[in-house]
Amino acid sequence: MREERSGGGRGRDKDKKDGKGGDAPRRGFFRRRRVCKFCAEKIDYINYQDVRLLAPFLPERGKIQPRRISGTCALHQRKLQVAIKRARQLALIPYVTE
């Protein structure tokens, strides 16, 4: 979906390496994901019991990934944060990993 859009639609996406993000390239080769995962996939309720849903937002160390990295929108980041904290209490995901 995103790729198609950058091909035809908007001019400002044209000279980017791929169609993925509209932002200036970040340090290194990492490209920021522009779209909030929950908005794109239309997930309205972030269930704390669903570890596989939460896992992509927890880097190795176990900290919650900031919005500026993951691209999650403010509304969903807030809900995600609550879900992660609940899952931590239930030992579904770790507080810290050494």
Partner: protein
């Protein structure tokens, strides 16, 4: 007076507990629910699971999830009882009805929005199978570039 609210109760039982003990615990909770005129909507036993970190000296535990509709006093009582029991190593009670309502409202609002846009474009309100480009079903809304083309 007490209004009915929906809660989710998750508790972790020690791995040493037998199936029977887990079942007993469940019936105990059922009894408390009955006494407080609540209803047990759903039970889910996840079975023995490896925990992400050690609780006490345990590495694994049996997870049980119960969805309960009832009053706050009921949940307070259940929480108090579980806290006393040695077999229960962790518990979490969350009120879910409001959260689920909010989620449902957003889903409905989005559906209405999509339907409105589609009828405005002279399409049937629901997405037809095999319609549109390529993958997913997520191209109807928010795709502003389409109009500019």
């Amino acid at each position: 007076m007490s209004t009915a609210r929906q809660y989710e109760l998750v508790y972790i039982v020690t791995p040493e507990a037998s199936e029977q003990e887990v079942a007993d615990l469940h019936t105990q909770i059922e009894q408390i629910i009955q006494r407080y005129n609540g209803t047990l909507d759903k039970t889910e036993n996840w079975g023995r699971k490896r925990m992400a970190y050690d609780i006490g000296r345990h590495r694994e535990g049996t997870y049980v999830v119960e969805t309960i509709t009832g009053s706050g006093e009921l949940m307070k009582e259940i929480g108090r009882r579980l806290r006393v029991m040695d077999a229960v190593i962790r518990q979490l009670i969350v009120r879910v009805d409001e959260e689920l309502q909010v989620a449902q409202r957003t889903t409905d609002a989005r559906k209405a929005f999509v339907a409105r846009r589609r009828t405005a474009r002279g399409l049937p309100p629901e997405r037809q199978p095999g319609e549109g480009r390529g993958d997913g079903d997520n191209q109807d809304d928010m795709d502003l570039s389409e109009g500019q083309r």
